[in-house]
């Protein structure tokens, strides 16, 4: 018999649960955080805009949690993953759980600072636009589908936050100073975008390929371009590198989850 060259069997790529949870937790935590503006927006149009974007993010989280729940089995659902996991189980970037204010202790209550909100949304959207764009062609069809939908939403989030970043940066003396302070406060947390941890390695081994060099180049270009237009100085991203995606969080996530999860935990299994 003649030797037949066998075509390598196309094996379906399945994104690891941990990576799906990382993406989902990012979305749900920022969605919950930004929802704090609901009813408190600086103007009604922005109030609606932020609530809209929170719903985009929560929608992304639902898709990702559902996919993770399917892989986990054992009765896991999007709800058990969002509402019945605790701080060390969450794999979001620390950046996304921080309050809408410069450094604070966890229990402090203070005014929400729109500059911080805008700066964070911008730094995150500038990452997610190129990331979803790459994941659109992921070998895992489920992840690729979620990425294609999320890319449109992230593109709008980038447009919205960039617009305000420029307006406030290149605005009055006060708005410029507050925008700069927000960036200086948040920029060190972006170091976590680029650490290559067990999370990324596991995903890579499973066949989820991200070109991190390209991603960083895209992110840097988006950030530099916007900051130049906003007449803001790019602060150094140095100091402690956060490890939220490994479950080591700031003191703020517990308070956020307590608020988000309390109703479901008080009435488990309730439907409406």
């Amino acid at each position: 018999m003649s030797a037949v060259l066998e075509k390598p069997q196309a094996t379906a790529v399945v994104t690891p649960v941990n990576y799906l949870l990382h993406l989902a937790d990012n979305a749900v935590v920022l969605g919950q955080r930004n929802a704090e503006w609901c009813g408190h927006g600086p103007i009604i149009e922005e109030d609606l805009a932020l609530a809209n974007m929170s719903l985009d993010l929560i929608g992304q989280a639902r898709l990702l949690y559902s996919q993770a729940a399917e892989l986990l089995g054992n009765g896991a659902t999007e709800d058990t993953l969002a509402y019945f996991r605790d701080v060390p189980d969450f794999r979001n970037y620390t950046l996304l759980e921080l309050p809408h204010h410069s450094a604070l202790v966890g229990y402090a209550k203070t005014d929400l600072d729109y500059g911080t909100t805008i700066a964070r949304n911008f730094l995150y959207a500038a990452l997610m636009v190129p990331m979803w764009s790459q994941l659109q062609t992921a070998a895992d069809p489920a992840l690729a589908g979620i990425a294609a939908k999320s890319l449109k939403e992230a593109s709008y989030h980038l447009r919205h936050s960039r617009d305000w970043l420029v307006r406030l940066g290149d605005g009055t003396e006060e708005s410029h100073a507050r925008m700069q302070a927000a960036l200086t406060h948040l920029m060190p947390y972006t170091q976590e975008f680029w650490t290559h941890t067990a999370l990324e390695k596991e995903a890579e081994a499973a066949g989820v390929h991200l070109d991190w060099v390209q991603l960083a180049a895209d992110w840097n270009a988006l950030v530099d371009d916007a900051l130049a237009e906003a007449t803001l100085t790019r602060p150094a991203a140095t100091g402690y590198v956060t490890q939220g995606k490994a479950g080591l969080h700031s003191e703020h996530l517990g308070f956020l989850l307590a608020e988000m999860q309390s109703l479901t935990r008080a009435h488990p299994g309730a439907t409406w």
């Binding site: 149009e45 609606l48 809209n52 617009d163 307006r167 605005g171 009055t172 003396e173």
Partner: protein, 101 residues
Amino acid sequence: MTATNTPALKEWPLWEVFVRSKQGLEHKHCGSLHAADAQQALVMARDVYTRRQEGVSIWVVPSVAITASNPDDKGELFDPAADKIYRHPTFYEIPEEVGHM
């Protein structure tokens, strides 16, 4: 910061928002909002007026660009048309060949 001669606006101007729905051929007035400039008005109109898939296209127009008729002139402007029902094309037989008009 770049030196600019335009001071920051204390009051944002008003914009009228027009949205064209998927089926509609024309943009319809759907409301108004305050925004610093036209681009911002567009973005805000998207968030305020198209959340339920109302539209596929948005126009914003500065409210000051609109000249409106005076409600007090209603009588002289519109009442004279009231007794001229022959202006409605209901008195004509439309030939079959014309089809839907």
